[in-house]
């Protein structure tokens, strides 16, 4: 280790030479600590103000797991009802299988019962009088007597008696509720059920190659149209995924952002010339226009959106109007600031050859600011593509409203995941598009 000892003379010299290092003010020394403590106290206050602990304790955490699993997997939920000594499977309206389909995990048994397979060693043999539960290959018979199902002695922790019913959990593969009148089965599979074709479609349940073969070479399933157009039609009108509807709603959101930003750009462009002090010399006009921009900008996009939704009804029009009003203000402010920073020499040059005022702006100012204007508009377009989703959710329509509706049912999380993926994809594409356009407009230096 080197010797870092400093002798007295050096010490005095250093102290005198660098007072700002050795004699810092109280604020410099303790400012960060004070700020950190203040932030911490504030967070602690908010922690109690927002009731964080009770909210988290009262959260539906068991449902949270199900909702999250729904993003990437799907549940088949048949009820195996006991009717006249027989077992009859009954599907909800969201049934993922057509009537009479052969299902490889739900098979009728020879004795009139049904076998539900959850895994190689896990299954249920359901009969009206007894349900044989196999967990890891071991048999636990659940007898059904009178109005209750009875948990056998020595059952593992995955089987629980809950009042009159017995619950069996098979982990990810699913669960079953055994009651005296029915067995309610939930069987979970990875992936999204019937993503391409619903059960009404003739293409349902076919492999990719078989569908492709039918589309290319097969005989017409519907004599009025080719198989490819039938497949496209079936895909877009898929009743459980509603691809056509979702894509059209996504398009609405994109149109909102595009048209809103474009109109805002077109209107803000001339107004910014009025607001710029070096171009319009009238102070009251400058001031009035700038306050007008502030007014448009400060009324939140939300307020405009709700306002126009009340006026025009839900749909892309209020979204366009909301983006247009807010961004006219915001772009006007940015544009007028850019105009106030232009180089005056070019204007003087054009003026000196006797050009009319409009021509002076056209050739002396616009070439300087146009790249900045376009680049800013592209930024706004990019950010509006994202905010149009939120605007839609408050009532302006588009994919935002669709998302909100799907979330409210609490059963369509797979559809939510699908829409989120679409939104992420679109946002990435548009980010890159606007980045590419911007770097072309601005040249290499970027902005």
């Amino acid at each position: 280790m080197s010797n870092l000892a400093v002798n007295a003379a050096d010490r005095e010299r250093l102290l005198a030479a660098y007072p700002e290092v050795f004699h810092r003010s109280v604020m410099q020394r303790w400012g960060l600590v004070v700020a950190a403590v203040a932030v911490f106290l504030y967070l602690a206050f908010c922690f109690s103000f927002f009731n964080v602990i009770p909210t988290f304790v009262n959260g539906n955490w068991d449902r949270a797991a199900i909702y999250l699993q729904d993003w990437y997997s799907w549940r088949a939920q048949p009820r195996l009802r006991f009717q006249n000594g027989e077992v009859v499977p009954q599907w909800t309206s969201r049934g993922q299988y057509p009537d009479g389909a052969a299902i490889d995990w739900l098979k009728p048994a020879s004795n009139g019962g049904y076998t539900v397979i959850f895994g190689s060693d896990d299954r249920l043999d359901v009969t009206p009088s007894q349900v044989d539960v196999y967990i890891d290959g071991k048999l636990y018979p659940v007898a059904i007597k009178g109005d209750r199902a009875i948990l056998p002695a020595g059952a593992p922790a995955r089987m629980v008696q809950d009042g009159n019913k017995v619950n069996v959990r098979f982990g990810f593969a699913g669960q079953a509720e055994i009651r005296n009148s029915q067995v309610y089965v939930q069987r979970r599979f990875l992936g999204w059920a019937n993503f391409f074709f619903d059960t009404q479609s003739p293409f349902w349940g076919r492999s990719v190659t078989s569908v492709a073969g039918l589309m290319l070479f097969g005989e017409r399933l519907d004599p009025s149209q080719s198989n490819a157009s039938l497949a496209l039609d079936n895909f877009l009108n898929n009743s459980s995924w509603q691809h056509g509807d979702i894509l059209s709603k996504l398009m609405q959101t994109l149109v909102m952002a595009f048209v809103g930003t474009l109109f805002a750009t077109l209107i803000a462009f001339p107004l910014a010339f009025v607001a710029a002090r070096n171009i319009t010399t009238s102070r009251p006009m400058n001031w009035g226009m700038k306050r007008f921009f502030d007014f448009l900008r400060s009324i939140d996009m939300l307020i405009w959106a709700l306002f126009f939704t009340r006026a025009f009804g839900p749909g892309p029009l209020p979204g366009i109007a909301a983006i247009f009003f807010t961004d006219t203000g915001a772009l006007g402010k940015v544009y007028s600031e850019a105009l106030e920073n232009v180089d005056d020499k070019q204007r003087e040059g054009v003026k000196s050859v006797g050009a009319a005022p409009v021509i002076v702006q056209r050739y002396g100012v616009v070439p300087q600011v146009l790249p900045i204007f376009i680049s800013q508009s592209l930024y706004f377009w990019e950010s509006n593509t994202r905010s149009a989703t939120a605007i839609g959710a408050v009532g302006a329509g588009g994919i935002g409203l669709k998302l909100l509706e799907s979330m409210k049912t609490n059963a369509d999380w797979d559809k939510v995941a699908y829409m989120v993926l679409l939104i992420l994809l679109v946002v990435f594409v548009f980010d890159n598009l606007s980045n590419a356009l911007r770097s072309r407009v601005m040249g290499k230096k970027g902005h």
């Binding site: 025009f312 749909g315 939510v416 989120v420 946002v427």
Partner: protein
């Protein structure tokens, strides 16, 4: 290029100058054609978009336009004073037992004799949501940004992963996070806080790492030469340079988050957004105008305060309009 007849503009020009003029005019013509073509394409896209928007809307633009002014006419409070009564929860002379004129029952009582008007209380919730989520988001972005900058971790896997994480956090729709959490935690401000924080991490993280990448690396080299560890280099070489910019961006983000938390509130996150969407949906004119005025004042105050603070912190250059970063 051969010239059959000499136009007037060529008179007095040498052969080489003519070629230059020819080329120039050729370029101008090409450029004009490009301009016209792109304007036409643009107009077609715009027309198609407008038509699509009008078709998709539940009310058609020109059909609804007359009713738009009807709506404005019907949306007038009984008297201008009503707006202030609604704002401060004072009893209304028009009270007829309906909630439209019932301002007093929403009072938030702090002590037996002192109350906060409901809209002010809701506004406080919204602002607190914005501030808390900015603090949480900025902390997250601060911790992540150093792992995303090329000058500190190289161009390897770490940088790639961290940048993709930030992109996803940024682009993930806030309302989905809020909706999912509202389904789990029940509707309320916590869902809004987490949703806005997550977005803030992504948005600020990007700005932060760009600042870090532009930092002067000489202090870093000095520390590296004296054998400082990675953490020490970040703390003593990078941090002092980037902190003012970080604070400036965080303040800018606070402005944006006040707006964002209002919107999230309207879709079920609580706060002023929810109250606003209820009152405009139920045609309560006085309440709606009261909230608009409150929101307007709040947004202007927050903007001005943060602009002033940013100017004090890093001078005039910080006074940029950072909307594009949203």
């Amino acid at each position: 290029m051969a010239h059959v007849a000499e136009p007037a503009q060529y008179s007095g020009l040498q052969e080489s100058s003519r070629t230059i003029l020819d080329h120039y005019q050729q370029q101008v013509r090409t450029r004009r054609i490009y301009t016209v073509v792109s304007i036409v394409v643009f107009l077609i896209v715009l027309g198609a978009s407008l038509d699509f928007a009008n078709e998709a809307n539940s009310g058609k633009f020109f059909e609804r336009l007359p009713y738009f002014f009807d709506f404005l006419k019907s949306f007038v409070p009984n008297s201008p004073l009503e707006i202030f009564r609604a704002m401060f929860d004072l009893p209304s002379p028009y009270a007829d037992g309906s909630i439209k004129f019932d301002y007093t029952s929403d009072r938030v009582w702090i002590t037996d004799s002192f109350y906060i008007p409901n809209f002010f209380y809701q506004l406080a919730i919204t602002i607190n949501i914005a501030i808390v989520s900015t603090i949480l988001g900025a902390t997250g972005a601060f911790l992540l940004c150093f792992f995303a900058s090329t000058n500190l971790v190289g161009a390897g896997l770490t940088r790639w992963v961290v940048r993709r994480i930030m992109e996803i956090l940024r682009a993930f729709p806030e309302i989905v996070v809020a909706g999912l959490l509202a389904a789990i935690l029940s509707i309320g401000p916590i869902a809004a806080i987490i949703a806005v924080s997550i977005h803030t991490i992504g948005a600020l993280g990007k700005l932060f790492f760009e600042v870090v990448e532009n930092a002067d690396m000489k202090p870093d080299e000095g520390l590296r030469a004296s054998g400082a560890s990675w953490l020490e280099r970040v703390r003593f070489a990078i941090l002092p340079q980037v902190l003012p910019n970080f604070v400036s961006y965080t303040l800018l983000r606070t402005e944006i988050n006040v707006r964002a938390s209002t919107i999230i509130g309207a879709v079920g996150g609580g706060g002023i957004g929810e109250v606003f969407s209820l009152s405009i949906g139920r045609d309560h004119a006085a309440k709606t105008y009261a909230i608009i005025i409150l929101l307007l004042i709040t947004v202007i105050c927050v903007d001005q305060f943060s602009a002033w603070l940013r100017r004090r912190l890093i001078g005039k250059q910080s006074f940029e309009f950072g909307r594009g970063a949203a």
